[in-house]
Symmetry: C2
Subunit: 185 residues, 2 copies
DNA sequence: GTCTATAGGGCGATAGAC
DNA sequence: GTCTATCGCCCTATAGAC
Protein backbone atom coordinates (compact mmCIF):
# COMPACT_ATOMS: atom_id res chain seq x y z
CA UNK A 1 0.00 0.00 0.00
CA UNK A 2 1.29 3.42 -0.98
CA UNK A 3 1.71 6.62 0.88
CA UNK A 4 -1.77 7.79 -0.17
CA UNK A 5 -5.19 6.22 -0.42
CA UNK A 6 -5.63 4.96 -3.98
CA UNK A 7 -8.05 6.34 -6.58
CA UNK A 8 -7.91 10.02 -5.70
CA UNK A 9 -9.56 10.80 -9.03
CA UNK A 10 -12.53 8.53 -8.35
CA UNK A 11 -12.91 9.93 -4.83
CA UNK A 12 -12.92 13.45 -6.24
CA UNK A 13 -15.58 12.50 -8.80
CA UNK A 14 -17.82 11.00 -6.14
CA UNK A 15 -17.30 13.84 -3.68
CA UNK A 16 -18.07 16.42 -6.36
CA UNK A 17 -21.28 14.76 -7.51
CA UNK A 18 -22.48 14.45 -3.92
CA UNK A 19 -21.72 18.05 -3.06
CA UNK A 20 -23.15 19.45 -6.29
CA UNK A 21 -26.34 17.48 -5.58
CA UNK A 22 -26.48 18.53 -1.92
CA UNK A 23 -25.86 22.25 -2.16
CA UNK A 24 -25.74 23.09 -5.85
CA UNK A 25 -22.82 23.58 -8.22
CA UNK A 26 -22.28 27.28 -7.56
CA UNK A 27 -22.37 26.91 -3.81
CA UNK A 28 -19.77 24.18 -3.77
CA UNK A 29 -16.13 25.19 -3.67
CA UNK A 30 -13.26 23.14 -5.01
CA UNK A 31 -11.76 23.32 -1.53
CA UNK A 32 -14.80 21.49 -0.14
CA UNK A 33 -14.61 18.79 -2.80
CA UNK A 34 -10.92 18.29 -2.18
CA UNK A 35 -11.46 18.16 1.56
CA UNK A 36 -14.18 15.51 1.28
CA UNK A 37 -11.93 13.46 -1.00
CA UNK A 38 -9.02 13.85 1.39
CA UNK A 39 -6.68 15.65 -0.99
CA UNK A 40 -5.58 19.23 -1.52
CA UNK A 41 -7.15 21.74 -3.85
CA UNK A 42 -4.07 21.53 -6.05
CA UNK A 43 -4.65 17.83 -6.57
CA UNK A 44 -8.13 18.50 -7.85
CA UNK A 45 -6.79 20.72 -10.60
CA UNK A 46 -4.14 18.18 -11.54
CA UNK A 47 -6.87 15.66 -12.31
CA UNK A 48 -9.48 18.01 -13.79
CA UNK A 49 -9.02 21.11 -15.91
CA UNK A 50 -11.81 22.91 -14.11
CA UNK A 51 -14.67 22.56 -11.67
CA UNK A 52 -17.08 21.34 -14.34
CA UNK A 53 -14.89 18.71 -15.90
CA UNK A 54 -15.10 16.49 -12.81
CA UNK A 55 -18.57 15.39 -13.99
CA UNK A 56 -17.40 14.45 -17.48
CA UNK A 57 -15.12 11.55 -18.17
CA UNK A 58 -13.04 13.31 -20.77
CA UNK A 59 -13.40 11.71 -24.20
CA UNK A 60 -14.28 8.27 -22.94
CA UNK A 61 -17.68 8.03 -24.60
CA UNK A 62 -16.54 9.61 -27.88
CA UNK A 63 -13.67 7.14 -28.08
CA UNK A 64 -16.04 4.22 -27.47
CA UNK A 65 -18.34 5.40 -30.23
CA UNK A 66 -15.61 6.05 -32.78
CA UNK A 67 -14.09 2.70 -32.02
CA UNK A 68 -17.42 0.94 -32.42
CA UNK A 69 -17.99 2.77 -35.66
CA UNK A 70 -14.90 1.16 -37.10
CA UNK A 71 -16.26 -2.35 -36.53
CA UNK A 72 -19.54 -1.56 -38.21
CA UNK A 73 -20.55 -3.25 -41.51
CA UNK A 74 -19.26 -1.24 -44.47
CA UNK A 75 -22.51 -1.53 -46.40
CA UNK A 76 -24.57 0.40 -43.86
CA UNK A 77 -25.59 3.95 -44.64
CA UNK A 78 -23.52 6.50 -42.68
CA UNK A 79 -26.41 7.36 -40.39
CA UNK A 80 -27.28 3.72 -39.72
CA UNK A 81 -23.64 3.04 -38.94
CA UNK A 82 -23.54 5.89 -36.43
CA UNK A 83 -26.74 4.68 -34.80
CA UNK A 84 -25.36 1.15 -34.54
CA UNK A 85 -22.13 2.45 -33.00
CA UNK A 86 -24.16 4.40 -30.47
CA UNK A 87 -26.22 1.32 -29.64
CA UNK A 88 -23.07 -0.61 -28.92
CA UNK A 89 -22.33 1.70 -25.99
CA UNK A 90 -25.55 0.60 -24.31
CA UNK A 91 -23.91 -1.07 -21.33
CA UNK A 92 -21.94 2.10 -20.62
CA UNK A 93 -25.33 3.60 -19.77
CA UNK A 94 -27.56 0.70 -18.78
CA UNK A 95 -25.12 -0.37 -16.04
CA UNK A 96 -25.21 3.07 -14.38
CA UNK A 97 -28.80 4.22 -14.50
CA UNK A 98 -29.04 5.62 -10.95
CA UNK A 99 -25.72 7.40 -11.28
CA UNK A 100 -26.74 8.82 -14.66
CA UNK A 101 -29.99 10.17 -13.26
CA UNK A 102 -28.32 11.88 -10.34
CA UNK A 103 -25.60 13.29 -12.56
CA UNK A 104 -28.12 14.55 -15.08
CA UNK A 105 -30.23 16.31 -12.50
CA UNK A 106 -27.14 18.13 -11.30
CA UNK A 107 -26.23 19.11 -14.86
CA UNK A 108 -29.75 20.23 -15.74
CA UNK A 109 -29.80 22.49 -12.70
CA UNK A 110 -26.85 24.55 -13.89
CA UNK A 111 -26.29 26.42 -17.15
CA UNK A 112 -22.51 26.21 -16.91
CA UNK A 113 -22.73 22.43 -16.67
CA UNK A 114 -25.18 22.27 -19.56
CA UNK A 115 -22.66 24.19 -21.64
CA UNK A 116 -19.98 21.67 -20.86
CA UNK A 117 -22.30 18.79 -21.70
CA UNK A 118 -23.11 20.30 -25.06
CA UNK A 119 -19.49 20.76 -26.01
CA UNK A 120 -18.85 17.13 -25.20
CA UNK A 121 -21.64 16.11 -27.55
CA UNK A 122 -20.45 18.54 -30.21
CA UNK A 123 -16.93 17.21 -30.03
CA UNK A 124 -18.32 13.69 -30.23
CA UNK A 125 -20.13 14.78 -33.40
CA UNK A 126 -16.85 16.06 -34.78
CA UNK A 127 -15.05 12.82 -34.00
CA UNK A 128 -17.85 10.84 -35.61
CA UNK A 129 -17.79 13.06 -38.71
CA UNK A 130 -14.06 12.53 -38.95
CA UNK A 131 -14.45 8.76 -38.62
CA UNK A 132 -17.10 8.78 -41.34
CA UNK A 133 -14.78 10.63 -43.70
CA UNK A 134 -12.14 8.00 -42.97
CA UNK A 135 -14.73 5.48 -44.10
CA UNK A 136 -15.05 7.26 -47.41
CA UNK A 137 -18.16 9.31 -46.70
CA UNK A 138 -17.81 12.72 -48.31
CA UNK A 139 -18.91 16.12 -47.10
CA UNK A 140 -21.45 17.43 -46.35
CA UNK A 141 -22.97 13.97 -45.85
CA UNK A 142 -20.41 13.10 -43.18
CA UNK A 143 -21.09 16.21 -41.12
CA UNK A 144 -24.85 15.90 -41.46
CA UNK A 145 -24.92 12.21 -40.62
CA UNK A 146 -22.80 12.87 -37.56
CA UNK A 147 -25.00 15.76 -36.41
CA UNK A 148 -28.16 13.77 -37.09
CA UNK A 149 -26.73 10.81 -35.20
CA UNK A 150 -25.98 12.99 -32.19
CA UNK A 151 -29.48 14.46 -32.36
CA UNK A 152 -30.82 10.90 -32.24
CA UNK A 153 -28.60 10.17 -29.27
CA UNK A 154 -29.73 13.27 -27.38
CA UNK A 155 -33.39 12.41 -27.77
CA UNK A 156 -32.78 8.75 -26.97
CA UNK A 157 -30.76 9.54 -23.86
CA UNK A 158 -33.47 11.80 -22.52
CA UNK A 159 -36.14 9.18 -23.08
CA UNK A 160 -33.97 6.49 -21.57
CA UNK A 161 -33.61 8.54 -18.38
CA UNK A 162 -37.38 8.96 -18.15
CA UNK A 163 -38.28 5.43 -19.10
CA UNK A 164 -40.25 3.89 -16.23
CA UNK A 165 -39.85 0.49 -17.89
CA UNK A 166 -36.06 0.91 -17.79
CA UNK A 167 -35.51 -0.47 -21.27
CA UNK A 168 -31.99 -0.39 -22.66
CA UNK A 169 -30.82 2.83 -24.24
CA UNK A 170 -30.31 0.79 -27.42
CA UNK A 171 -34.08 0.49 -27.74
CA UNK A 172 -34.49 4.23 -27.45
CA UNK A 173 -31.78 4.85 -30.02
CA UNK A 174 -33.54 2.60 -32.50
CA UNK A 175 -36.86 4.31 -31.87
CA UNK A 176 -35.42 7.80 -32.21
CA UNK A 177 -33.67 6.85 -35.43
CA UNK A 178 -36.90 5.54 -36.91
CA UNK A 179 -38.65 8.71 -35.86
CA UNK A 180 -35.99 10.88 -37.46
CA UNK A 181 -36.34 8.98 -40.69
CA UNK A 182 -40.07 9.43 -40.69
CA UNK A 183 -39.73 13.15 -39.95
CA UNK A 184 -37.33 13.74 -42.84
CA UNK A 185 -39.12 11.76 -45.51
CA UNK B 1 -27.81 64.98 -23.97
CA UNK B 2 -27.44 62.93 -20.83
CA UNK B 3 -24.68 62.51 -18.37
CA UNK B 4 -23.16 59.69 -20.37
CA UNK B 5 -22.41 58.91 -23.99
CA UNK B 6 -25.30 56.87 -25.39
CA UNK B 7 -25.16 53.20 -26.41
CA UNK B 8 -22.78 51.92 -23.76
CA UNK B 9 -23.85 48.40 -24.64
CA UNK B 10 -22.98 48.76 -28.33
CA UNK B 11 -19.62 50.34 -27.47
CA UNK B 12 -18.85 47.43 -25.16
CA UNK B 13 -19.75 44.91 -27.88
CA UNK B 14 -17.50 46.59 -30.42
CA UNK B 15 -14.62 47.05 -27.99
CA UNK B 16 -14.83 43.43 -26.89
CA UNK B 17 -14.80 42.00 -30.40
CA UNK B 18 -11.82 44.17 -31.34
CA UNK B 19 -9.82 43.23 -28.28
CA UNK B 20 -10.66 39.53 -28.48
CA UNK B 21 -9.49 39.60 -32.10
CA UNK B 22 -6.34 41.58 -31.34
CA UNK B 23 -4.98 39.74 -28.33
CA UNK B 24 -7.24 36.73 -27.80
CA UNK B 25 -10.13 36.12 -25.46
CA UNK B 26 -8.10 34.88 -22.50
CA UNK B 27 -5.61 37.71 -22.68
CA UNK B 28 -8.28 40.38 -22.66
CA UNK B 29 -9.59 41.59 -19.33
CA UNK B 30 -13.01 43.04 -18.73
CA UNK B 31 -11.25 46.13 -17.37
CA UNK B 32 -9.63 46.68 -20.77
CA UNK B 33 -12.91 46.29 -22.61
CA UNK B 34 -14.61 48.69 -20.25
CA UNK B 35 -11.78 51.19 -20.57
CA UNK B 36 -11.93 51.15 -24.36
CA UNK B 37 -15.69 51.62 -24.23
CA UNK B 38 -15.34 54.47 -21.74
CA UNK B 39 -17.24 52.85 -18.87
CA UNK B 40 -16.31 51.01 -15.72
CA UNK B 41 -15.90 47.29 -15.26
CA UNK B 42 -19.06 47.20 -13.17
CA UNK B 43 -21.08 48.57 -16.06
CA UNK B 44 -19.88 45.76 -18.28
CA UNK B 45 -21.38 43.22 -15.93
CA UNK B 46 -24.66 45.03 -15.76
CA UNK B 47 -25.08 44.66 -19.51
CA UNK B 48 -23.62 41.19 -19.88
CA UNK B 49 -23.82 38.28 -17.50
CA UNK B 50 -20.23 37.32 -18.20
CA UNK B 51 -17.23 37.95 -20.41
CA UNK B 52 -18.50 35.59 -23.12
CA UNK B 53 -22.01 36.90 -23.43
CA UNK B 54 -20.82 40.16 -24.98
CA UNK B 55 -20.40 38.30 -28.29
CA UNK B 56 -23.92 36.85 -28.28
CA UNK B 57 -26.99 38.98 -28.70
CA UNK B 58 -29.04 37.19 -26.10
CA UNK B 59 -32.03 35.42 -27.64
CA UNK B 60 -32.36 37.69 -30.63
CA UNK B 61 -31.88 35.02 -33.28
CA UNK B 62 -34.01 32.43 -31.50
CA UNK B 63 -36.84 34.92 -31.21
CA UNK B 64 -36.61 35.75 -34.91
CA UNK B 65 -36.78 32.09 -35.84
CA UNK B 66 -39.67 31.25 -33.54
CA UNK B 67 -41.55 34.25 -34.78
CA UNK B 68 -40.95 33.32 -38.41
CA UNK B 69 -42.06 29.78 -37.65
CA UNK B 70 -45.46 31.08 -36.64
CA UNK B 71 -46.05 32.68 -40.05
CA UNK B 72 -45.15 29.52 -41.89
CA UNK B 73 -47.78 27.58 -43.92
CA UNK B 74 -49.55 25.06 -41.74
CA UNK B 75 -49.38 22.28 -44.32
CA UNK B 76 -45.58 22.09 -44.33
CA UNK B 77 -43.88 19.20 -42.59
CA UNK B 78 -42.33 20.25 -39.24
CA UNK B 79 -38.80 20.04 -40.61
CA UNK B 80 -39.64 22.00 -43.75
CA UNK B 81 -41.32 24.65 -41.62
CA UNK B 82 -38.22 24.98 -39.45
CA UNK B 83 -36.00 25.25 -42.52
CA UNK B 84 -38.23 27.92 -43.99
CA UNK B 85 -38.20 29.87 -40.73
CA UNK B 86 -34.41 29.68 -40.70
CA UNK B 87 -34.26 30.89 -44.30
CA UNK B 88 -36.33 33.92 -43.38
CA UNK B 89 -33.51 35.14 -41.11
CA UNK B 90 -31.20 35.37 -44.10
CA UNK B 91 -30.79 39.14 -44.00
CA UNK B 92 -29.77 38.91 -40.33
CA UNK B 93 -26.69 37.14 -41.67
CA UNK B 94 -26.24 38.30 -45.24
CA UNK B 95 -26.12 41.94 -44.13
CA UNK B 96 -23.25 41.31 -41.72
CA UNK B 97 -20.90 38.94 -43.47
CA UNK B 98 -17.61 40.64 -42.49
CA UNK B 99 -18.70 41.04 -38.91
CA UNK B 100 -19.85 37.40 -38.79
CA UNK B 101 -16.51 36.18 -40.09
CA UNK B 102 -14.51 38.16 -37.58
CA UNK B 103 -16.79 37.11 -34.75
CA UNK B 104 -16.64 33.48 -35.78
CA UNK B 105 -12.85 33.39 -35.97
CA UNK B 106 -12.75 34.74 -32.42
CA UNK B 107 -15.22 32.12 -31.24
CA UNK B 108 -13.47 29.26 -33.01
CA UNK B 109 -10.20 30.21 -31.35
CA UNK B 110 -11.55 29.64 -27.87
CA UNK B 111 -13.23 26.61 -26.31
CA UNK B 112 -15.09 28.67 -23.73
CA UNK B 113 -16.67 30.72 -26.49
CA UNK B 114 -17.51 27.60 -28.47
CA UNK B 115 -19.34 26.32 -25.40
CA UNK B 116 -21.40 29.46 -25.23
CA UNK B 117 -22.21 29.27 -28.92
CA UNK B 118 -23.40 25.70 -28.56
CA UNK B 119 -25.73 26.52 -25.71
CA UNK B 120 -27.26 29.30 -27.78
CA UNK B 121 -27.97 26.82 -30.56
CA UNK B 122 -29.29 24.26 -28.12
CA UNK B 123 -31.63 26.74 -26.54
CA UNK B 124 -32.77 27.79 -30.01
CA UNK B 125 -33.53 24.10 -30.65
CA UNK B 126 -35.59 24.01 -27.46
CA UNK B 127 -37.53 27.12 -28.44
CA UNK B 128 -38.17 25.68 -31.88
CA UNK B 129 -39.32 22.37 -30.41
CA UNK B 130 -41.69 24.25 -28.14
CA UNK B 131 -43.06 26.27 -31.05
CA UNK B 132 -43.60 23.08 -33.02
CA UNK B 133 -45.57 21.55 -30.16
CA UNK B 134 -47.71 24.70 -30.10
CA UNK B 135 -48.38 24.00 -33.77
CA UNK B 136 -49.69 20.57 -32.87
CA UNK B 137 -46.58 18.51 -33.61
CA UNK B 138 -46.27 15.76 -31.04
CA UNK B 139 -43.19 14.30 -29.40
CA UNK B 140 -40.71 12.96 -30.26
CA UNK B 141 -41.23 14.40 -33.74
CA UNK B 142 -41.10 17.96 -32.41
CA UNK B 143 -37.79 17.46 -30.64
CA UNK B 144 -36.23 15.60 -33.52
CA UNK B 145 -37.38 18.08 -36.15
CA UNK B 146 -36.00 20.91 -34.06
CA UNK B 147 -32.66 19.16 -33.55
CA UNK B 148 -32.45 18.21 -37.19
CA UNK B 149 -33.29 21.76 -38.20
CA UNK B 150 -30.52 23.13 -36.02
CA UNK B 151 -28.08 20.60 -37.47
CA UNK B 152 -29.04 21.86 -40.92
CA UNK B 153 -28.46 25.40 -39.75
CA UNK B 154 -25.04 24.60 -38.29
CA UNK B 155 -23.83 23.04 -41.50
CA UNK B 156 -25.36 25.80 -43.61
CA UNK B 157 -23.84 28.55 -41.51
CA UNK B 158 -20.39 27.05 -41.77
CA UNK B 159 -20.67 26.75 -45.54
CA UNK B 160 -22.07 30.25 -45.83
CA UNK B 161 -19.01 31.63 -44.02
CA UNK B 162 -16.67 29.78 -46.38
CA UNK B 163 -18.60 30.52 -49.54
CA UNK B 164 -16.29 32.44 -51.91
CA UNK B 165 -19.31 33.22 -54.08
CA UNK B 166 -21.02 34.86 -51.08
CA UNK B 167 -24.43 33.37 -51.81
CA UNK B 168 -27.19 34.00 -49.30
CA UNK B 169 -27.34 31.75 -46.28
CA UNK B 170 -30.83 30.79 -47.47
CA UNK B 171 -29.25 28.93 -50.38
CA UNK B 172 -27.01 27.00 -48.03
CA UNK B 173 -29.93 26.14 -45.77
CA UNK B 174 -31.85 24.69 -48.71
CA UNK B 175 -28.84 22.67 -49.82
CA UNK B 176 -28.13 21.30 -46.37
CA UNK B 177 -31.77 20.34 -45.91
CA UNK B 178 -31.76 18.44 -49.18
CA UNK B 179 -28.57 16.71 -48.15
CA UNK B 180 -30.04 15.72 -44.79
CA UNK B 181 -33.07 14.25 -46.50
CA UNK B 182 -30.89 12.22 -48.82
CA UNK B 183 -28.76 10.99 -45.94
CA UNK B 184 -31.75 9.78 -43.91
CA UNK B 185 -33.65 8.09 -46.69
C1' DG C 1 2.98 23.81 -2.73
C1' DT C 2 2.49 28.91 -2.69
C1' DC C 3 1.14 33.18 -4.85
C1' DT C 4 -1.69 36.09 -7.52
C1' DA C 5 -4.67 38.06 -11.19
C1' DT C 6 -9.21 38.19 -12.55
C1' DA C 7 -14.12 36.90 -12.85
C1' DG C 8 -18.09 38.19 -11.18
C1' DG C 9 -21.50 39.04 -7.28
C1' DG C 10 -23.39 42.31 -3.37
C1' DC C 11 -24.68 46.66 -1.96
C1' DG C 12 -25.04 51.53 -1.62
C1' DA C 13 -24.35 56.17 -3.73
C1' DT C 14 -25.09 59.42 -7.44
C1' DA C 15 -27.37 61.91 -10.95
C1' DG C 16 -30.15 62.66 -14.64
C1' DA C 17 -35.12 61.80 -16.91
C1' DC C 18 -39.92 61.88 -16.06
C1' DG D 1 -41.39 61.70 -5.61
C1' DT D 2 -39.93 57.14 -8.93
C1' DC D 3 -37.07 54.85 -12.35
C1' DT D 4 -32.89 53.77 -14.57
C1' DA D 5 -28.01 53.95 -15.83
C1' DT D 6 -23.63 54.37 -13.94
C1' DC D 7 -19.94 54.20 -10.55
C1' DG D 8 -17.08 52.69 -6.40
C1' DC D 9 -15.66 49.68 -3.21
C1' DC D 10 -15.40 45.19 -1.09
C1' DC D 11 -15.42 40.43 -1.36
C1' DT D 12 -14.45 35.36 -2.55
C1' DA D 13 -13.22 31.44 -5.53
C1' DT D 14 -11.25 29.95 -9.68
C1' DA D 15 -7.51 28.81 -12.22
C1' DG D 16 -3.11 29.82 -14.01
C1' DA D 17 1.79 31.17 -12.93
C1' DC D 18 5.83 30.53 -10.50
Amino acid sequence: MGRWEPDAKGRLERAALELYAERGFDDTTVAEIAERAGVTERTFFRHFADKREVLFRGDELALLVVDALKSTPADLSPLDAVALALESTASFFDDRRPHSKKRQSVIDANPALRERELIKLASMAESVAHALRDRGVSDPAAGLSAEAGIAVFKVAFERWLDDRAERSIAVHIREALAELKSVTS
